[in-house]
Symmetry: C2
Subunit: 369 residues, 2 copies
Amino acid sequence: LHALLVPRQPTDSAFALDIDRRLASKTMPAGALGRLQECAAQLALIEGPSCLRPEGLAGSDAQIIVFAADHGLSAEGVSAYPREVTWQMVLNILHGGAAISVLSRHSGAPLWVANMGVEHRFDPHPQLIDQPVAWGSANCLYGDALTLEQVEQALLTGARILEQCQASQASRWVVFGEMGIGNTSIASLMLAGLLGLSIDPLVGRGTGLEDRQLLRKHVILRAVVARHPQLFAAPSMALGHASGAGRALAVAKSVGGLEILGIAGAMLRSAQLNKAVIVDGFIATAAAVMAIAMQPEVRASMIFSHCSAESGHRQVLQAIKAHPLLDLGLRLGEGSGAALVIPLLSAARKILLEMASFESAAVAQRSAT
Amino acid sequence: LHALLVPRQPTDSAFALDIDRRLASKTMPAGALGRLQECAAQLALIEGPSCLRPEGLAGSDAQIIVFAADHGLSAEGVSAYPREVTWQMVLNILHGGAAISVLSRHSGAPLWVANMGVEHRFDPHPQLIDQPVAWGSANCLYGDALTLEQVEQALLTGARILEQCQASQASRWVVFGEMGIGNTSIASLMLAGLLGLSIDPLVGRGTGLEDRQLLRKHVILRAVVARHPQLFAAPSMALGHASGAGRALAVAKSVGGLEILGIAGAMLRSAQLNKAVIVDGFIATAAAVMAIAMQPEVRASMIFSHCSAESGHRQVLQAIKAHPLLDLGLRLGEGSGAALVIPLLSAARKILLEMASFESAAVAQRSAT
């Protein structure tokens, strides 16, 4: 696990200046493309000089990996949907009918599904990476969701899956999605533990709980929290604190989330390989916070795609000072919100590469003031 | 002009129900795609049943038309850039180096530039529609910017240009952009007049005025307002008021804006032809408000793409109850923000057309509550 926590090489400051100068020379008022040109600069700094060579990379701008797993806690009725929807939706994604399937075709980003621990035996499929760490996680209401070995294996499996997907078809950026009935509950618990936040404001309707069901979800998650006073009653954790990795592993052991841990491991490896991490909604953000808790420098490689309609996402984004690009009331998961920003980010990249400068286009500069 | 104010046929209510049912059957929790599925529904209702036939339209989802003109008021130093930048940027757009050129290639939406009154003689170019109504507008600080005949001709020319572009390459939606040094000033005046708002909060830095220049812009625009007490001191105008069209023409005559009027005319014609109108930033919104003032039902055919960084845009959007899709601090114009949402809207359309239903994908529905 230690190798996964080595930070990437810092960006060359001369290259950063070159990017700033290129953007400033474009035929537009300074800063007129706002967040779009900030993204162009951030993506360039993450990738490094190869970003300026249009032919430098065979493949697409982005790839999409959806990590899937089941959760013992879903036996407690914390989701509006039965547990078998996890494997049914995995098949729907593979068969091209899910939202993320549509958005993958739309954006030209290849799509894989990684089985991290779904309670189902899948037939082989060219887009399925079938490397389960366990047959789901245990019910964290009655004990630890995972062993420490399973936590570490999930992180390392995620990192290895990222490498396999990149070897199969390289991309500049990676979109991480998830599928797992019950996983808003696990994400809420993980975020409460990692960020030292109170659980209640982090509990939302997930796939669409009605009032009575939401009340039940609150009761269940409070009970899980009460089982682990040493993890959840801790003072608000400063991300990047020296004890971050150890504490993060302890939280993950208690509440689980094999797909969330797979994503966290894949995010850490992505950053090491200079691939920008495109973060989706509430659950993917829990994975991002897990990765940041283990290696704070991974934060600089992340682009937060959207603020979800799931209660608590906005608070979590504020806690980690993330400013998402979209705010469209999405709450679907699967990586759908992150996939939706791929064309925006590709546009940002083309602005950097293809726009003329004032000089090259013979356009007059600002008047003297 | 009367023909341009005839509203489009109302949408068939059975078709609207069909669209709702299709979206509700998709393999996702109800409403989980938020604003994206609202856009999918709105676009479908604007286009009508042909939207469900993927092969029904030869051409692209969107086309982009950038309307350009000069403004006599720019002699007063209300812009950070000299007036010749208007024609220089027209050439930059045609030569493929402007932001909108890059975004046109990125989105696959063909791009035209319509010369409505730039102070320059252009050589012919396949993407240039050269139909100027005047050699710029007059300086509205000293008199009317346009004659009533010029206002009407600009509206009708815009409508005709829309027809020509659609005849050349049909599209489902139309993005309207603008180029015209000084046109944030004209847009502020027009919006103040049309909406009955005070001018000061509508005055912004445009292409990037410094503090002293901004102060000058305020002084100049207040002086223009003072010339027309009957137009600007009027009580807040209810959009859609019976006297809307006459009053709108009077405001346009006073302050001008040949490219803004061209866009307004093209928007009205777009709506009649069941083509969704994708509204860009501050100046395009002034054109949208002009069109709404003349024919309130055109509002239903509009999608507001983004909230610009230009002061006043947020207030105007609130005044017309528009909820833009993006809020990325853009303030470039040219239709760039509207072009940026084309891939989002194409994604929305594909969600409606391509996503599986619970039944077709054999995914379990919600548990009973």
